[in-house]
């Protein structure tokens, strides 16, 4: 098993290394190697999931780093949530690798792209398998790094340059808290190993503190782009679309939720409540922002944010299993939609504005229908995958916390509105630009993953269809929710939500639409509010440009003035002054000099007369 886990981890690293060192100029070989490694990953991970003692938790560790009393081990912990994520990562990962073959076919820097993907797979698997917080942190940073690399794929555009920088720095802010959290956890519990932590935390509940939980949750906030660190994710869409699908929708951002699940036992009630509330608000807020986005990927990005808010809310409600469940289904349908959008973008020669699309359903049917499945799934249409997980969250919220429920429900309505808006604008109606007129269906490398994902988006909600190992962690919470009352009532409310959204979207966007957003004409103030995204970017920009940078420059000037100037130069100046004074004594005149002798003699005699301890 250890060998399997190790090779699982090393395979993508090896692929990345080989690509980086030898295959920089041979993009196609690099692509194949990378896809092969992704396939290998799937194989190895299924071996890990379904292996011999699969019903037991597999853990193994060895010392990696040791200083003083502190010992860090390099270890694996493959328990039930890990298995779920492992499945999602390796499976979706493979599909996206295959999709990339088509999508990136013409890209010059293919090797760099696939190398980056491999590094990402390596780090993501690392997070999944890690058995302690520090290791998680290590891979946490590494996924950030690979995300940075991949966002910056089109580095010669200023957009990508800024977005990659922003993504990493904002993530660092989250990691800052995470790091502090880990350190304080170590000194509180005496270990960072997850299993030992859970034991200790259960033994002595008094050790837990809300502060600590929130610090650890900072990691989640940064990586999962939750409020107030959500600003990087929409910008991160500057990267290639498959990357958005893999990293910024299906796996990496979800790692935040996975982290929460891993350390669930540390959380206090207050912390959970806070996270739940923040998550639900995020769900609503992101949906609101998504309403008026013109960029197809940004709509999806905000939708991702919103869905991540749902997961956080589920976790906050004390239903980590449901959160993981939604993570899984979301991975399927969101990856599906991103890949679909990728297919569209690819077909339309990198046109991303949805108002320049239209009527693509006829030109690229596979993409259109699979995309529709995704839209339906995310909107919570009954018996599609999204319905199960999302309804479970809503039902749980209804029974556990009504405030959260009402926010989430509003969010659900918004979800279906903006999703159908997206669908209608892109695929229905007439073509609105040249690039979309010339669009043709994408190659099989791209459509095949779409179809697979569409199937999963349809059936992925039936947990009983999955092998037991994968859904082991979900089951208790699913059955807990299933036993909750008001199930029917919730079904009806759900129906209202998605049908209402559908109708609303149809009313506004369904008919013939020009390049201007109809909502802007009908409710301009609302539109303004939505496009402004509640001024978060402006506030941050203001902070960076008007407060941080001037302050730093001010510090520089102060250093120049006080340390360099006053302290260093000042003392040199004083010395120079004395030097000039000393020099001025040397007039070269004998009668001036003899005064020194008189004064010296007088001084010596005065010392003899007055000084020196006459006893």
């Amino acid at each position: 098993m250890v060998q399997v886990a190790l090779s699982l981890l090393l395979l993508p690293l090896l692929s990345a290394g080989i690509t980086l060192l030898f295959l920089r100029k041979y993009g196609n070989i690099a692509a194949l190697l990378s896809v092969a490694s992704a396939g290998g990953i799937l194989a190895f991970s299924s071996f890990l999931i379904f292996g011999k003692d699969s019903d037991q938790i597999f853990s193994w560790s060895t010392t990696w780093f040791q200083l003083s009393d502190w010992e860090l081990s390099f270890g694996f912990l493959v328990d039930s949530p890990a298995k779920t994520l492992l499945f999602v990562v390796s499976f979706v990962g493979l599909l996206i690798h295959i999709f990339s073959l088509g999508y990136m076919a013409d890209d010059k820097a293919k090797a760099r792209y696939f190398g980056g993907l491999s590094i990402f797979m390596f780090s993501m698997l690392g997070i999944t398998l890690s058995d302690n917080l520090v290791m998680i942190f290590v891979f946490w940073e590494l996924v950030g790094f690979s995300s940075y690399l991949l966002i910056a794929h089109y580095f010669s555009t200023d957009e990508a340059a800024n977005a990659s920088k922003k993504a990493f720095i904002v993530n660092r802010v989250g990691d800052f808290g995470f790091l502090l959290g880990i350190i304080i956890t170590y000194w509180t519990y005496g270990t960072v190993n997850l299993q030992e932590l859970s034991v200790t935390a259960n033994l002595d509940p008094s050790l837990t503190s809300t502060m600590l939980c929130l610090l650890l949750a900072c990691g989640f906030i940064g990586k999962s782009a939750q409020f107030p660190l959500h600003v990087w994710l929409p910008d991160a869409m500057a990267g290639p679309t498959p990357v958005s699908a893999l990293i910024h929708a299906a796996t990496m951002v979800a790692a935040g939720i996975f982290l929460l699940i891993r350390i669930e036992f540390l959380f206090t009630v207050e912390a959970l409540k806070l996270i739940g509330l923040a998550g639900s608000v995020m769900g609503l807020y992101a949906g609101f922002c998504a309403l008026t986005q013109r960029d197809i990927k940004k709509v999806l990005a905000y939708s991702t944010l919103s869905q991540l808010g749902y997961m956080a809310a589920a976790f906050g409600l004390g239903l980590p299993g449901i959160a993981l469940f939604h993570l899984m289904t979301h991975a399927f349908f969101k990856a599906l939609m991103f890949l679909g959008s990728g297919s569209v973008i690819h077909a339309c020669h990198h046109e991303q504005d949805i108002f320049n699309f239209g009527g693509l359903r006829k030109k690229m049917p596979v993409t259109a229908y699979t995309f529709l499945i995704g839209v339906l799934a995310i909107s919570g249409v009954h018996f599609l995958s999204g319905y199960f997980s999302k309804d479970a969250i809503l039902l749980g919220a209804y029974n556990l916390d009504f405030v959260i429920f009402s926010i989430l429900y509003l969010g659900a309505i918004l979800t279906s509105i903006y999703m159908f808006r997206l669908y209608f604008l892109t695929f229905c109606g007439e073509t609105r630009s040249k690039s979309s007129e010339n669009a043709v269906e994408s190659s099989v490398f791209m459509t095949a993953p779409l179809i697979v994902l569409a199937v999963l988006a349809v059936f992925g909600g039936f947990h009983s269809l999955y092998p037991a190992q994968i859904v082991e962690y979900l089951l208790p919470d699913i059955s807990r929710v299933a036993e909750m009352p008001h199930h029917l009532w919730m079904n009806i409310l759900g129906l209202f939500a998605w049908v209402g959204g559908l109708l609303f979207a149809w009313k506004i966007y369904g008919s013939d639409t020009q390049s201007k957003d109809p909502l802007e004409l009908k409710a301009p103030s609302l539109f303004q509010l939505s496009t402004s995204k509640l001024f978060f970017d402006e506030v941050y920009l203001f902070y960076v440009n008007r407060i941080q940078d001037p302050f730093f420059r001010f510090l520089e000037v102060m250093e120049l003035l006080f340390i360099s100037g006053l302290m260093v130069r000042g003392s040199a100046g004083v010395a120079a002054l004395f030097a000039l004074l000393g020099k001025s004594f040397y007039s070269g005149k004998i009668h001036h000099y003899s005064f020194w002798f008189v004064l010296g003699t007088l001084g010596f005699l005065a010392y003899a007369i007055l000084g020196g301890g006459i006893s």
């Binding site: 020099k583 040397y586 003899s594 003699t601 005699l605 003899a608 301890g613």
Partner: protein, 514 residues
């Protein structure tokens, strides 16, 4: 009559053979100069060097093989010989050889008489040797004045230069002034000492007959009369006289002017030998006759040392004329050495460690100074006094060996590892710390840091590419044209550079001597 004859019993002239040989050699040189034809006057210079080298060789042989360096006295206790005195003899002889070598170059370029120069140099050296062995104030005074009277004409030796003459006059006036201070001090001490009523606790039976002006008696006298104002003033005035010699504040004021005007070899002679003699004398006094006054003198010394260090270094910073700068840096070095003297006063009875530090320092200072002055002596300037930092621009490109040797010399003076100067300073720090002279230590640290400015400012000129000159009208004359026929001087400079380096990492016999 027999009473008097008793005194001549221990007039052991053989004890003074190096001094006598040197003095006779000096006379011999003068005679050769007198009776040789003009073309052969160069012979005098070579003969002087050869003579002194042979003497030094014999002296060293004598010490190393025949080895009679036990403490003894002669001339009715007027001289005391011992290992330290012998060491100083070699020190002065070494310095004298260097001065002669430098002098030959100087005299050749300035077309001056060689015989008189070497005569005076050797006489001065003999005087310095005697000075360091004197144990009686009269001998001390007479030897001191002999040295001074040989120095006055040497400083003014380049008669064609007004600056040299002017420096000579200044040196003479202030030398005379300071020797009157010294004399007054001696007289006051004599005044008390000769009065049996003031002897106080000195037991008359054993000491009644001791020579009043001998160090030994003065020591006893001071011990018995620590608070006598007359004695205190005497002691302080004697120290004032010596402070002039070593260039310690506030009697340092003459230093830059005299160094500036005198011929380069004599500047070196003043900087090394004269100063070393002053220090040795000071050590002899504060650890000998003035030992019992240590407690009284230490604060005074502390003040002088601090003031000297800071003044010397700060004033040197503003100088671009090299000789003045070196003079002022010499003042600062005197300050450092004064700290060691203080330390030796602190370790009453166990002062050898500090004394050895001073010896080591002086030797290192000798090597470094002669490297620096030697290279300066190579430069051919219109006026020998006008060495400026600017003359050294780009020396590294023109003459690497000279530049590198000079760098070693400067670095050693500045106390930069791995050169001897650093080890000397380290030992100084060590001793000062042991003696708990914290204030002086702080002053030393500040002083060394300030000194980096002017030393490295010089190094900068030597090594770095010269700044572009904008006024092309007065293109500086290249002083580094006559580099041929250096011979001995080149050998001297390079040897000393190597020695400075070697002492930085391997102290050899000095390692054990402490």
């Amino acid at each position: 009559m027999e009473d008097f004859l008793r005194f001549s019993n221990d007039n052991l002239w053989s004890e003074l053979w190096p001094e006598l040989t040197l003095a006779l050699g000096a006379v011999l040189i003068l005679l050769i100069q007198l009776f040789s034809n003009k073309a052969a006057t160069n012979i005098c210079g070579r003969l002087a060097v050869l003579f002194q080298v042979v003497l030094l060789g014999y002296l060293l042989l004598d010490y190393l093989l025949i080895h009679h360096t036990f403490d003894r006295s002669s001339f009715s206790g007027m001289l005391r010989h011992g290992f330290q005195g012998d060491l100083m003899r070699t020190f002065f002889l070494l310095a004298s050889i260097c001065v002669s070598i430098l002098g030959n170059r100087f005299l050749l370029t300035n077309k001056l008489k060689t015989g008189e120069f070497h005569h005076l140099t050797m006489l001065a050296t003999a005087g310095l040797m005697l000075l360091c062995q004197s144990a009686n104030f009269i001998v001390l005074f007479v030897a001191l004045e002999t040295v001074a009277l040989a120095f006055y004409p040497l400083v003014a030796f380049d008669r064609s230069s007004s600056k040299s003459l002017e420096a000579g006059i200044k040196y003479l006036i202030f030398g005379a002034l300071s020797s009157s201070l010294l004399l007054l001090g001696i007289v006051l001490i004599y005044g008390v000492g000769s009065n049996p009523g003031a002897w106080g606790a000195i037991s008359p039976s054993t000491n009644i007959g001791m020579d009043i002006l001998s160090f030994e008696f003065v020591g006893l006298l001071l011990e018995a009369n620590q608070t006598n104002l007359l004695l205190r003033s005497g002691v302080v005035l004697v120290l004032a006289g010596l402070a002039f010699k070593i260039g310690a504040a506030p009697f340092q004021i003459w230093v830059p002017d005299v160094y500036h005007g005198s011929p380069t070899p004599i500047t070196a002679f003043l900087a090394v030998s004269s100063k070393a003699a002053g220090f040795f004398l000071l050590l002899n006094l504060v650890n000998g006759p003035f030992d019992s006054m240590s407690e009284f003198l230490l604060p005074l010394f502390g003040f002088i040392a601090t003031f000297t260090i800071l003044f010397g270094n700060l004033a040197a910073c503003a100088q671009r004329k090299l000789k003045r700068m070196l003079g002022l840096s010499g003042v600062a070095h005197a300050g450092y050495l004064l700290v060691a003297v203080m330390a030796s006063m602190h370790f009453a009875g166990d002062s050898d460690r500090a004394v050895w530090v001073i010896f080591f320092y002086l030797f290192i200072y000798l090597f470094a100074s002669f490297i620096v002055f030697g290279v300066m002596g190579i430069a051919t300037l219109k006026d020998d006094s006008d060495h400026e930092i600017g003359h050294y621009e780009g020396l590294l490109q023109k003459h690497p060996w000279a530049a590198i040797s000079l760098l070693v010399g400067i670095a050693s003076l500045a106390g930069i590892p791995p050169f001897g100067g650093f080890v000397a300073k380290l030992m100084l720090f060590n001793v000062a710390f042991e003696a708990k002279l914290y204030t002086s230590l702080v002053a030393m640290v500040i002083g060394v840091v300030i000194s980096i400015y002017y030393y490295f400012g010089w190094i900068r000129e030597i090594c770095f590419e010269p700044k572009p000159h904008f006024d092309d009208d007065n293109e500086p004359i290249d002083p580094w044209t006559k580099m041929h026929q250096l011979g001995l001087l080149k050998l001297l400079i390079i040897t000393f550079a190597v020695v400075s380096f070697v002492f930085g990492i391997w102290q050899g016999p000095f390692g054990d001597a402490f």
